[in-house]
Amino acid sequence: MTFVAKPRTHHPRLPVNEIGLTRRDYEGSVSTLCAGCGHDSVSAAIVQACAELSMPPHRFAKVSGIGCSSKTPSYFLNKSHGFNSVHGRMPSVITGANLANRDLFCVGVSGDGDSASIGMGQFAHIVRRRINMLYIVDNNGTYGLTKGQFSATNDKGSTNKKGVPNLYEPIDLASMALQLGATFVARSFSGDKRQLVPLLKAGLRHRGMAFIDVISPCVAFNNHEGSTKSYDHLRQFDHNVVNADYIGDHDEITADYQPGTIEDVSMPDGTTLRLYKLEDSFDPHDRVGALNYVQKRQQEGEVVTGLLYIDPDASDCHEILDTVHTPLNELNETDLCPGADNLDAINASFR
């Protein structure tokens, strides 16, 4: 298997964004995942979100762990650096990357095995630290690359391809993120681009960590009858609560949602996030309420999707640490070295 580059030619009338780029400028190499894999839809949604936001495609740092999901940073934003790191450890690597250069957009892609099992500790602690990033979990409930073992997000009683049921309680990463103090928590479905793209845009614009749990069916190992992470199951049990649309300076509102309550949220950069609340009782600014709601619906077998919680005034890790605005990786000897004179005083203090 080798790297496959996509042909660089594109349709002459492909629309250009505010910085003169087409969607093709945000793409990656050809995916090597299975045909129909939900993860490819997520990658495509990332391409669309970044292109529509007119973000410079080379100003991202893409980091992943190990697994099918972690291969996907190759499949979007080819002009950016990517780092396929160690299983379950994307959060620490992206923490370092963000500390080194606060001006880059950090996108971390992980999976359910990567984040809910081997990397559970790192997932929990990056939420606490509020690293300014978009954290996406491509959640398919199974270990694809090792051929279909249950993952920790798989529902109890859901069966594998051979009909054997999962015996253990599932871990819900979105609930965990809410409980651990995340300031942006959403869940979506890879098959619902209309919901996913605006959530990705809002997540990219959020200051601090934006967490999106994307249910993304595995066509090879977890798309059969009896699985609760299959396309069919999700189409039936997906329960949208709050859909979002991201409104830049000139964007028209294009989303076409069922009528409900509309609420505009001001983002830190002056742009607006427009929320369509499909259920009046749900308040996406109420952490505890969101937690209860998700759990309650889960008990009834429903998967709540949409923007579950947002705190638009949240601070990020650099603000918590009070670091200088210049990226640390741009500081030089003059900025960093205290010099020989200071050392004389230091030596004197040890005499």
Binding site: S74, N84, I94, T95, G96, L104, F350, R351
Partner: protein, 610 residues
């Protein structure tokens, strides 16, 4: 009287209860002698405990600058009833036992061959300090005062330190000085003060400083330009990160904004700590972590990734015995092999072996340069002995003209000037490719970082040939590393025998060599300062008939590393290993070498006195 007095040459040990406030008084004792210009070495032997277990503080006082540990204690300040039996037993014949005789010494503990110095500390303090907690703390100050009288320590040096230590808490100065006076007066009035064992002002210290290696490592990391530090608490490495933070909060604050020119994260574990370091280094910040043996085990997977992904990282391993708790608060040099070959799939890492705080400072900055130059993790192997004890050290130095070596990093202009960019292309023939940082250029230089499955252009491939080419290039880079590691420090007088050692095993060496020479045994010495070993180390071994490899671990790890990397005949490299948890002593090495000379009937050379 002076004919029977010995000056500036003894070992004093304080036996205390952990958490009883003795550390401050004991530290003042050592510092007072240091300020009188007398060379001292301090050793803290402490339990894995916050309060209640026994703890010892030992000070080697040596006009000859013998700063390694020496067997046997000349003065025992026995303040812990629980360890009294072993404390009294450790005294050399003729030694002095200083104890609180408010309770008389049990008959069974008495020895005919030592001098008992009983001071009724508790009884004397009872009417003076009414608060029991305060009274307990001042016991330590009182024996310090008594020692001042007994050993002839310049009293104003001690009182000056009290004034400095409690600056701002002036109410504490007077009671402290009072407690000192009570001890000193007792020594003058009731004891035969001063003893025939005394201190006197000397010029033995010169311009040296007294500092622990971890402090030096933290400071060196600041001078070397580290901006990201990620760590997880583990004794004996914790104070490296704490020193970095403490001094960065003063030295690394932006003048205008008051904001920090560094980021420090106390991570959730060692895996996250090294992950953060690697992520930061990938994105072009100088980053380091500090840990101990268990942390190195946890970091191993990431170290392998960084080796293959070719990312800089600096890791301080402050070695200790292991695993688990208890003995791990004792010093050892037992992570050599674990560090050299950490991880999976043909990995090896450059190591640095500092032997003094000055070298900790220097190697902290050097490690950051080497990591950037070689694009690989650099592991600095210190240990508890060096890291946590105050050591006499040459003062720190910095050349203001020095520039950081950021290695081969291409910026946007450099990318535009190049026809071809291949992240893993060996353009210069030194095995090191050019790298780019994320976000550098709109169209050029972006690549995907991963482990081994890539070609020279960082494109994904599982081609056998590409894998082999990559592995061979990494070996070439390893040879480049061998030219950049600090050279070994060698003293070669053409002896038949040599001794190789590293790190804190160097401390007892000058004394050991003098002891051996006195018996006609002459040994050349080679202090290795890093790995891969340079040609001078190979020459040293080849030019000696027998080479003692002296180190503080059970399995002779440095010896194994030498044999493994250079195919030396194992018989020729004689292991001298100490690993019982204290630091290695001159006497121990002397005995091992002397025994070998006797067993193998090696020739001794005794100078004929004219």
């Amino acid at each position: 009287m002076s004919s029977n007095v010995t000056y500036n040459d003894f070992v004093i040990r304080f036996a205390n209860v952990n958490g009883s406030g003795s550390a401050s008084a004991n530290g003042m004792f050592a510092k007072a002698l240091f300020r009188m210009g007398i060379p001292v070495a301090t050793r803290n032997i402490f339990p894995s405990n916050i309060q209640g277990l026994p703890t010892w503080f030992e000070v080697r006082v040596s006009e000859q600058n013998y700063l390694g540990r020496r067997e046997g204690v000349d003065i025992m300040v026995a303040m812990n009833a629980e360890t009294m039996v072993e404390d009294i037993a450790s005294l050399k014949p003729g030694g002095y036992l200083l104890y609180d005789n408010s309770k008389p010494l049990a008959k069974t503990l008495q020895r005919d061959d030592i001098v008992e110095i009983g001071i009724p500390i508790s009884t004397m303090l009872l009417p003076v300090f009414t608060d029991p907690k305060q009274r307990s703390l001042f016991k330590n100050i009182t024996y310090l005062g008594a020692l001042a009288g007994l050993l002839n320590i310049e009293f104003d040096v001690i009182t000056g330190m009290v004034a400095t230590q409690y600056k701002g808490k002036d109410a504490l100065i007077q009671p402290n000085i009072h407690a000192l006076e009570i001890g000193r007066q007792y020594a003058y009035e009731y004891l035969n003060a001063p003893l025939p064992l005394q201190v006197r002002r000397s010029d033995g210290v010169g311009d040296r400083i007294m500092v622990d290696g971890n402090m030096a490592a933290g400071l060196g990391s600041i001078y070397g330009g580290a901006t990201v530090c990620a760590w997880y608490p583990i004794t004996p490495s914790t104070s490296v990160a704490e020193a970095f933070e403490q001094h960065a909060n003063r030295l690394r604050i932006d003048h205008d904004s008051g904001q920090k020119k560094f980021a420090i994260i106390q991570a959730e574990d060692e895996l996250a700590a090294i992950g953060i370091v690697i992520g930061a280094a990938w994105n072009g910040a100088r980053a380091f972590t500090a840990t101990s043996g268990p942390g190195v085990s946890l970091m191993s997977e990431f170290l392998g990734l960084a080796y293959f992904a070719e990312l800089p990282a600096v890791l301080w391993d402050i070695q200790r015995a292991g695993p688990s708790t208890g003995m791990p608060t004792r010093t050892q040099q037992s992570d050599v092999l674990a560090a050299a070959y950490a991880s999976h799939g043909d990995t090896k890492h450059p190591l640095l072996f500092p032997a003094s705080p000055k070298e900790c400072f220097d190697f902290a900055a050097l490690a950051l340069d080497l990591a950037d130059r070689l694009q690989t993790p650099i592991i600095v192997l210190s240990d508890l002995e060096l890291g946590m004890n105050d050591n006499l050290s040459e003062p720190f130095e910095w050349d203001n003209d020095r520039r950081y070596d950021r290695g081969k990093v291409l910026d946007a202009d450099a990318l535009d000037a190049r026809e071809v960019f291949g992240r893993y292309l060996d353009v210069d023939g030194d095995g090191i490719g050019f790298r780019t940082l994320p976000g550098t250029h709109p169209d050029k230089g972006a690549f995907f970082t991963r482990g081994t499955s890539r070609d020279e252009f960082a494109a994904y491939t599982e081609s056998p040939e590409a894998y082999e080419r990559n592995m061979e290039r990494l070996l070439k880079k390893w040879q480049t590393a061998a030219t950049l590691i600090p050279e070994a420090e060698i003293t070669d007088n053409g002896c038949e025998a040599g001794a190789i050692y590293f790190g804190t095993t160097s401390l007892p060496m000058p004394e050991c060599m003098d002891l051996l020479a006195h018996d006609g045994i002459h040994v050349d010495t080679c202090r290795v300062r890093g790995f891969p070993f340079g040609p001078e180390v190979v020459d040293f071994i080849n030019s000696h008939k027998v080479v003692f490899i002296v180190e503080q671990n059970r399995d002779g790890q440095l010896r194994k590393l030498l044999i493994n990397e250079h195919d030396f005949a194992p018989d020729k490299l004689v292991p001298v290993t100490y690993y019982a948890g204290l630091s290695i002593s001159a006497d121990f090495i002397q005995n091992a070498v002397t025994e070998y000379f006797a067993e193998h009937k090696l020739a001794r050379i005794t100078e004929v006195k004219s």
